[in-house]
């Protein structure tokens, strides 16, 4: 039975149309979290992607013109290689006391960067701060102080009992 060229062409076109969204899952037109980018490393290696997340820790020196900014989101953090000038706009980095600035970064995603020893990273072309960071409150739970001092007091009484008993040679 001869196969219709038209049918084959339609089938091929449909295949290409259906397959394409998998490839552009992290295209620059959509914003993903760093966690999403990491889970799509194999499929998006070399692609221009846009991620959005919290800048954490600090900017770490990479070379004379660039720094590393680690961006956290979607359950994971991704290292972003960016110019010092672009990173200078980040005022707050996330730590115990702070939620860092939310940054949106567009750049090329590498599953194994040749410039950086095979590490997974993103070389930024643009970085913008979309939301400022803020102080994370850690209110003091005074019940811990009461319970802690209480148990330490009881422990001190036990220690006194032990030392008295040892002096009486009850622990040989």
């Amino acid at each position: 039975m001869k196969r219709s060229p038209v049918a084959l062409t339609l089938l091929l076109s449909a295949t290409l149309v259906l397959a394409t969204p998998l490839k552009v899952a992290l295209a620059a037109t959509t914003t993903a979290s760093p966690g999403d980018a990491i889970s799509e490393l194999k499929g998006s290696d070399g692609d221009i992607v846009t991620i959005e997340g919290e800048a954490i820790g600090e900017a770490l020196g990479a070379d004379s013109g660039h720094v590393w900014v680690n961006v956290l989101g979607g359950g994971a953090a991704l290292g972003v290689y960016v110019t010092r000038e672009a990173a200078a706009g980040i005022r707050v980095y996330g730590d115990y006391g702070h939620t860092g600035d939310t940054v949106r970064v567009t750049g090329r995603l590498h599953a194994a960067c040749d410039l950086h020893g095979g590490d997974a990273d993103l070389h930024a072309t643009t970085l913008e701060v979309v939301r400022s960071g803020f102080v994370r409150p850690h209110p003091v739970n005074w019940w811990k102080a009461i319970a802690g001092l209480g148990t330490l007091g009881l422990a001190a009484l036990q220690l006194r009992r032990f030392l008295l008993a040892r002096r009486r040679h009850e622990f040989r």
């Binding site: 490393l41 194999k42 040749d114 319970a147 802690g148 001092l149 148990t151 422990a155 036990q158 032990f162």
Partner: protein
């Protein structure tokens, strides 16, 4: 004949466990101080409460009079096994209060992982954890890496006549000094020197990369402790990848290698007898293992064409093989990429490295290079005997601190532990598969837990099944104590409930 414990035996065990718990309570003063200096007041209260509860529990145990009975090896085994479990339970208290764990079980998992220097973690939002809690997590590596009992002996926590039995029960064999207290102190001196050197080197590196001095110092301490004690915790969720630094990888790799070397060997080197480094069976086995597995991993990675430059293969392959062999678990890959990005042979190479482990009497886990070497030499010995005339008397020797002869008893003891490790690896893998994970990932994680490594394919996470969390806790515990100590405790518990048995005074 099975000999169970009597009431005065139990009193002795409770007394000594209480002493060791006192040490854990005292150690919590360090993160308390860090919290006060850093202004982390709620975290400081976590350690105030943790110290109070642990010290009270410890002193309550200490108040149980041992009755003058001498501490025997059977007691020591039970004390060692129970101490590790209870120390983890109390060490988990401040972590559970921190808000960084979704349940007490998760905090207990991390405490066990810290003390056994495994490095698997269930922490939630590590990047926003307080410095105090990070200090405690890494301090558990320091305490557990050298051994809870060794720590107590080194600081002479009133263990007196039972010190040597307890030392052996914790899986220690080295007799560096004639006196076990001096041996324990030597181990801590070696640790202090390497941690100080590592901290200094990393402090300078981090300052150069733009960290503020306080963070640079703390991160230097954390990484040095995690690598020399081959624990693997890190203060950031990306672990070693956070720093994007080949200098960091080089320094920490040297620390991992130092940490995986037998403490006896450190003593030899310190005393100028460096020839032992080259003749020692463990060092030769480790070197051969790393070389063979490095070739396997490199060929696999090169074949997959994942890395375009050979130096990337060398850098990644060597770092992770050293991390796996030493039981550190530091990684510059994301957990999920082990089985998704790399060919199966590369993951297999890492599994074999983890399974084989480092040196005996070091901070490393796994089967241990000495047992692997004995197995290999015994296999060669058997082949030689098969080929030799019946009348020939073939013997084999090996070099481990001195020239030793391979005896059937030595081989049997080594084979028993090898089999127990292999059985535990496979059982943990099967449990993972039964709970829905892929076979390679499940095997990887099981070996990582039992060998106290900490590399992860992503299975270990707060969302993993409770049954698997409990199973990995058991694997980390038995792996650290090398089975027999834990089996002795189980036997004692079973015998205590034996029907018809009456407790004798």
């Amino acid at each position: 004949m099975w000999v169970g414990f009597r009431r005065h035996d139990l009193a002795l065990i409770v007394h000594y466990v209480g002493l060791l718990l006192l040490g854990i309570g005292a150690a919590m003063v360090v993160p308390f101080a860090v919290a006060c200096v850093a202004g982390e007041w709620d975290a400081a209260l976590d350690y105030l409460l943790g110290t109070g509860v642990t010290s009270l529990a410890g002193l309550t145990g200490v108040m149980v009079k041992p009755g003058g009975a001498p501490l025997k090896h059977a007691h020591a085994l039970a004390i060692a096994a129970l101490s590790w479990l209870l120390a983890s339970a109390f060490a988990a208290l401040p972590l559970a209060l921190s808000g960084s764990y979704l349940s007490y079980l998760d905090a207990f998992f991390d405490a066990v992982s810290g003390l056994t220097t495994s490095g698997l973690t269930l922490v939630h939002d590590l990047d926003h954890m307080s410095l105090a809690h990070n200090m405690w997590r890494h301090l558990t590596h320091l305490i557990g890496g050298q051994g809870i009992v060794v720590a107590a002996i080194a600081f002479s926590v009133a263990l007196q006549g039972g010190a040597f039995s307890l030392y052996l029960a914790e899986g220690r064999e080295e007799r560096i000094e004639p006196n076990v207290i001096n041996t324990a102190r030597f181990i801590w001196v070696v640790t202090a020197v390497y941690v100080a050197l590592g901290t200094t080197a990393l402090f300078v590196l981090f300052l150069a990369k733009g960290m503020v001095p306080g963070r640079a110092l703390l991160h230097g301490v954390f990484a040095s402790v995690a690598c020399f004690d081959t624990g693997g915790f890190g203060p950031q969720s990306q672990n070693a990848l956070y720093y994007h630094s080949w200098g960091f990888e080089l320094i920490t790799m040297l620390l991992m290698i130092a940490g995986t070397i037998n403490f006896n060997l450190h003593a030899f080197v310190w005393r100028g007898r460096r020839g032992e480094l080259y003749r020692n069976l463990e060092v030769r086995v480790l070197a051969a293992n790393v070389a063979i597995l490095a070739v396997l991993a490199s060929v696999a990675l090169a074949g997959a064409a994942f890395y375009s430059q050979p130096q990337e293969i060398v850098r990644k392959g060597l770092y992770h093989l050293v991390s796996a062999h030493s039981g550190t678990g530091h990684q510059t890959f994301y957990p999920g990429t082990w089985t998704t990005l790399f060919p199966g042979a590369a993951a297999v190479a890492v599994i074999l490295a983890m399974a084989a482990g480092g040196s005996a009497s070091s901070t490393a886990g796994g089967i241990k290079a000495l047992r692997v070497g004995l197995f290999a030499k015994n296999a060669l010995l058997q082949v030689r005997r098969q080929l030799a005339p019946e009348s020939a008397h073939i013997v084999s020797h090996y070099q481990h601190l001195k020239r030793r002869r391979i005896t059937p008893e030595l081989v049997a003891a080594a084979m028993l532990v090898i089999l127990l490790y292999l059985l535990t690896y496979v059982t943990g893998g099967l449990v993972g598969v039964a709970l829905g994970y892929g076979p390679v990932e499940a095997m990887f994680e099981s070996v990582s837990a039992t060998a106290n490594v900490g590399l992860s394919t992503g299975i270990t996470s707060p969302s993993m099944p409770v049954a698997l969390k409990i199973f990995y806790i058991l694997q980390m515990w038995v792996g650290r104590l090398e089975f027999l100590t834990v089996f002795a405790l189980f036997a004692a518990v079973v015998l205590a409930f034996r029907p018809g048995r009456k407790v004798q005074e």
